[in-house]
Every structure is written in structure tokens, then in C-alpha cells.
């Protein structure tokens, strides 16, 4: 678990072709694995740009064309693991990949999570496919003997099956089919009511992240938010993935993030980012 100031793990230059290993389904989610024998171990919160080795493009409307960004879920016995949901042409193509197929990857990229400071306890809060980076983070915290509660929010039962990726997590669902009927940020508020000498690590859709940011700001609890944005490259070249910072500048999610301290943002609601 890197402490603040630890240099990020850098990626081997360029993309490399991996072979897809076993895949698993957790309700609405697919976990894709690929052995990355030549790559470095990612830090929690870092991400990879992924593209299918074949038939990337040529589908409906000739998309996908650009690679897609995914947080690494975990590094398991079959290599890197990525959690995805079919939401568009890129994720649909990646979800079709079978063991033995090729997978282009560039990574690990970006600035990940850093360890809690000031003896604060960690609280992990995820929404939907934003569960992914919290799994590797949870593993890191366990190794550091700093176990943390994990709170996960999902739309419905089919999505809540993704909670199995982080055993022991508490679940909220929008429709009440699993766990708490309501928002994961309600669970977070309860957790902080118990003990707010904490640092919150969060990943999820913009509305959830914004609720986490506002909640933490109101309680003066530091938070590290893993943001998502459409990216063309993932390594700072295109300047396409920006979010507005509190100081009026724009931050590139790919090189300044994806993990950005809540205090650097006025809002996580950015036009064009997935709702």
C-alpha cells in the first residue's frame, strides 16, 4: 500500500498483447483475466487501457476505435483482473472475449490510492462497476493489517451479485432487493457517525462520488476519489479526459488522477461523464 509521495508505478512503453485467461460472471458483471508476465504490479487505483486483439472496430457504426480505460480489480492467480459491464460497443466487445483471445493493454497508468495518514481508519465506498479498484485496495490494506469496512451500492439484484468480488462488504441497492434499501452514501454517513477519524476511498458514478465528496467535505473527512472519464489515450497525450479543479484549472483524469483528493474538486458532476 503506497504512502503519499510514493512514485507511481510506470507502464512499459506502448501497448502489449496479452492472452485472455479464465473469465467469470457475477450477475451483470464480467471479470476478465489476462496474465501480464512482463508488466509491473499495479498500485491500487491504477488503470489500464484495453482493446480486443481482434475485431476492435468493424462492429455497429465501425466502433469501438479507441481503447477503453479500466481500473485493475485485482491481481490474481490468472494475472490482471478487470471488472466490466456491457454498456456500449467497447465493453460489449471486451465482454465477448474468451480464454485464448488477444487483449491489448497499456498500463498500469495514473495516480492510484495512497495509505491512510494520521492513524485514520480507511472506509471504502463503491458504486456499481466502481467496486473494481476497491478490491485491490482492500487487499493492500489487509496486508498492511489495516482492515477496512467496504460499502457497495448497486442498482438491483443482478448488479449486487458483484459484491461477491469483495467478501464481507455491506450492500445497498436502489430497489431494496439486496441489503439496505437506498443509497450507499447513507451507509457511509452511518459509518462516519460511528467514527469519523477516517479517510474515505470511493469509486463510482459521478452522482455517487459527488455525494461522497460533499459528505466528506461537510464532516472534514479526507477522501480519495477514483474518477472515470472517457479517454482517447490514457497517458496524457490527448487532453480529452479533464475535470474542472477547485482552483479553476482542468485536471487530466489519466495523469493527474484517476485518484484525486476530494479537496481539489468543487464537484464530481462533469458534463458528458456517465451518469
Amino acid at each position: 500500500m503506497p504512502v503519499a509521495g510514493t512514485p507511481r508505478t510506470t507502464a512499459p512503453p506502448g501497448r502489449r498483447l496479452l492472452t485472455v485467461g479464465p473469465r467469470a460472471e457475477y450477475g451483470a458483471y464480467i471479470v476478465l483475466s489476462a496474465a501480464d508476465l512482463d508488466g509491473p504490479l499495479p498500485q491500487p487505483g491504477q488503470f489500464y487501457m484495453l482493446a480486443a486483439g481482434e475485431r476492435w472496430g468493424g462492429g455497429e457504426d465501425e466502433r469501438p476505435y479507441l481503447p477503453r480505460a479500466f481500473s485493475v480489480l485485482r491481481v490474481g492467480e490468472h494475472g490482471l483482473e478487470f471488472m466490466l459491464e456491457r454498456v456500449g460497443p467497447g465493453t460489449t466487445r471486451l465482454a465477448e472475449l474468451a480464454p485464448g483471445d488477444g487483449l491489448w493493454v497499456t498500463g498500469p497508468l495514473g495516480q492510484g490510492f495512497t495509505a491512510p495518514e494520521d492513524e485514520r481508519r480507511a472506509v471504502l465506498c463503491g458504486g456499481g462497476v466502481g467496486t473494481a479498484p476497491l478490491a485491490l485496495l482492500q487487499d493492500g490494506l489487509r496486508v498492511a493489517e489495516r482492515p477496512a469496512p467496504v460499502l457497495l451500492g448497486f442498482r438491483d439484484h443482478a448488479h449486487a451479485l458483484g459484491a461477491a468480488l469483495i467478501p464481507g462488504s455491506r450492500v445497498a441497492t436502489d430497489d431494496g432487493s439486496v441489503g439496505h434499501h437506498g443509497l450507499v452514501t447513507e451507509l457511509l454517513a452511518d459509518e462516519l457517525d460511528d467514527n469519523d477519524h477516517a479517510v474515505v476511498y470511493a469509486c463510482g458514478p459521478p452522482a455517487m462520488l459527488e455525494a461522497v465528496r460533499a459528505l466528506c467535505a461537510a464532516r472534514e473527512v479526507p477522501c480519495q476519489l477514483a474518477l472515470e472519464a472517457g479517454m482517447a489515450c490514457g497517458f496524457g497525450a490527448c487532453f480529452g479526459c479533464v475535470v474542472p479543479a477547485a482552483d479553476g484549472s482542468y485536471l487530466r483524469v489519466c495523469v493527474d488522477g484517476p485518484v484525486i483528493g476530494g479537496e481539489r474538486l468543487d464537484t464530481c458532476l462533469v458534463a458528458g461523464h456517465a451518469a
Binding site: 507511481r8 510506470t10 507502464a11 512499459p12 512503453p13 506502448g14 501497448r15 482493446a51 472496430g57 457504426d61 465501425e62 466502433r63 469501438p64 476505435y65 479507441l66 481503447p67 491489448w104 497499456t106 497508468l109 495514473g110 472519464a229 472517457g230 479517454m231 482517447a232 489515450c233 490514457g234 497517458f235 496524457g236 497525450a237 490527448c238 487532453f239 480529452g240 479526459c241 479533464v242 475535470v243 474542472p244 479553476g248 484549472s249 482542468y250 487530466r252 489519466c254 495523469v255 462533469v270 458534463a271 458528458g272 461523464h273
Partner: protein, 295 residues
């Protein structure tokens, strides 16, 4: 595969298009070792303006069939910020540095050109003329008269090679290239992105991009770019940097055959940071097979 371009000795003909590769961020993402595998034979900076620019509000990207529309808005630290913080880092790249600059009047571009002319780290200057003249409202690069006056004002201010980056959003691109040559440009580069619109989901004609319209790049443009490079090559004697959807050595070969001296890679680098190196190697293999030599 070495090539002479405006007096610069380059080890191969593959460069990057301005604004499509951030060499400083690449070191951050891939480590300083990236310099050892640097894919381009010269590095073209993103556009530098006199004052700092934050760039356009997001969203800035829209994927289209075989390409991309961007509305980035030329974010940069401004001339002083670039000279102070970016130039020292770019000066240590293993290849010559071509600096791209933009202003919306000749009066405003001259201090930029003067400042770059003073810097030995800068090997050549590229003018981004895809912007409106504040006085006339005409895009400087879309009108031969405007462009000629602009380049004529810049030419006496520098002895460095001067490259004019042509926009495809013009009725007579060869005529504009002739005007650039007559005004003293040492080379032209083309093409810049093609103006494009991405509709927001939900209809009603609203724009997806924060900057309303954007510029399209990628393989979707390649055939258009080849036609323009070919037409320009037929009417100017100065060298051409050809670009537009180059994704393979075969594509680069086609641009050279159309009359380009250098070939720039842009959007393909977003898909793979080392695409330029692959294209260089594929081109070398093709050239070896045909016995063609670069000189």
C-alpha cells in the same frame, strides 16, 4: 531511412502531429526510459499561445467511425510558462524540437516567434493558422490573402525553418499552400482536423462537445488527406509534412508517394504510445522490399 527536412537531419521520416503527443506526460506515465524508444524523429509541440489557455469545457471527445472528434481548445501554459517549465524538459528529448504556435493576428504572433527564434533548443517553428483573425473574422488559414500577409509578417523575424500547418477547412487548399510558399514558408504541413459536429444524445440538435464543434481525426480522414497532399505537392516546391489517419507503414508510404517528405502520426498514437515506432519499422520494411531509399 534518414531524411533531410528544411536543413534538419532526421533519422527517419515519422514525426507526431501537433497536439497528439505530450512527451512530458509520456515520461510520467512510462518512466524516463521512454526517451530510449522515442517513436518520432522530431517532436512537434502542442500549440503555444501568448497567454495561458485552460482549454474548452468537457466533454472534449467523441468517438466516430474510424476516428475521433476532439474539442480540446489548445490548453497550454502560455509562452512564458512554456519557456519556463516545458521547454527545459523538451530540450532533453533525443530528437529535434519543432514548436507550434498560434495567434489571431500578426501583431500577436510576432513576440512568440521572436522568443522562439532566440532559443537554440527550438529547431523549427510551425504556425497553427486554424484560427480566426480578430480583425476580419476570417480564418487566417482559410484565405490565401490573409495567410500570405500573416506569413509575410513572420518570415523576417526568424531564420529558423518556418512550417505552415494548413487547415482542410478551406475551399482552395493548394492556393493557400502557394500563398504560404510565396510569403516565405519553408514547408507546409497538412492536414489539420476537419471541422465536425457530434450531436448530444436525446436529439434536439444540441452539441455533445463543450466547445460546440470540434475537429475530426483518424483513419476516416486518410483518403481526404492524401488527395490534399497530392494536390498541394503538385503546385509547391517546398517540402510537405503529410498527415491524416496514418495507422501503418503502408499508409505512411502512400503519403510519401503523394509527395510528402515527412509523415506525421496523430490519433493512432492514442491507441498505442509506440504506434509511431511500429509505423517507422513497417515503412522501413516496405522500403527495403522496394529498394527505395530516403535522401
Amino acid at each position: 531511412m534518414s531524411v533531410t527536412f528544411c536543413g534538419l537531419e532526421l533519422v527517419h521520416p515519422i514525426v507526431n502531429g501537433s497536439g497528439t503527443f505530450d512527451a512530458i506526460a509520456a515520461r510520467q506515465a512510462f518512466g524516463p526510459g521512454f526517451d530510449d524508444v522515442f517513436p518520432f524523429s522530431a517532436y512537434v509541440s502542442k500549440t503555444i499561445t501568448a497567454a495561458p489557455r485552460a482549454g474548452n469545457p468537457p466533454p472534449r471527445l467523441f468517438e466516430v467511425p474510424a476516428g475521433l472528434i476532439n474539442s480540446i481548445g489548445l490548453p497550454n501554459k502560455g509562452l512564458d510558462g512554456w519557456l519556463a517549465s516545458d521547454l527545459p524538459q523538451l530540450a532533453t528529448l533525443p530528437v529535434p524540437l519543432i514548436t507550434n504556435v498560434m495567434a489571431n493576428s500578426a501583431q500577436e504572433i510576432l513576440p512568440l516567434v521572436d522568443a522562439l527564434d532566440d532559443r537554440p533548443e527550438v529547431a523549427a517553428i510551425e504556425l497553427n493558422v486554424s484560427c480566426p483573425n480578430v480583425r476580419t473574422g476570417l480564418d487566417i488559414g482559410s484565405d490565401a490573402g490573409e495567410l500570405g500577409r500573416f506569413v509575410s509578417a513572420v518570415r523576417p523575424r526568424t531564420t529558423k525553418p518556418l512550417i505552415v500547418k494548413l487547415t482542410p477547412n478551406a475551399a482552395d487548399v493548394p492556393g493557400i499552400a502557394r500563398a504560404a510558399e510565396a510569403a516565405g514558408a519553408d514547408a507546409v504541413s497538412l492536414l489539420n482536423t476537419l471541422r465536425a459536429f457530434a450531436p448530444a444524445p436525446g436529439g434536439a440538435g444540441a452539441a455533445w462537445l463543450g466547445g460546440e464543434t470540434g475537429g475530426m481525426s483518424g483513419p476516416a480522414l486518410r483518403a481526404v488527406a492524401l488527395a490534399q497532399v497530392r494536390a498541394v505537392a503538385a503546385c509547391v516546391a517546398i517540402p510537405i509534412v503529410g498527415m491524416g489517419g496514418v495507422a501503418s507503414g503502408r499508409d505512411a508510404r502512400a503519403f510519401l508517394d503523394a509527395g510528402a517528405t515527412l509523415v506525421a502520426v496523430g490519433t493512432e498514437s492514442f491507441r498505442d504510445a509506440l504506434a509511431g515506432a511500429r509505423i517507422r519499422d513497417e515503412l522501413a520494411e516496405l522500403s527495403a522490399n522496394t529498394g527505395l531509399v530516403f535522401s
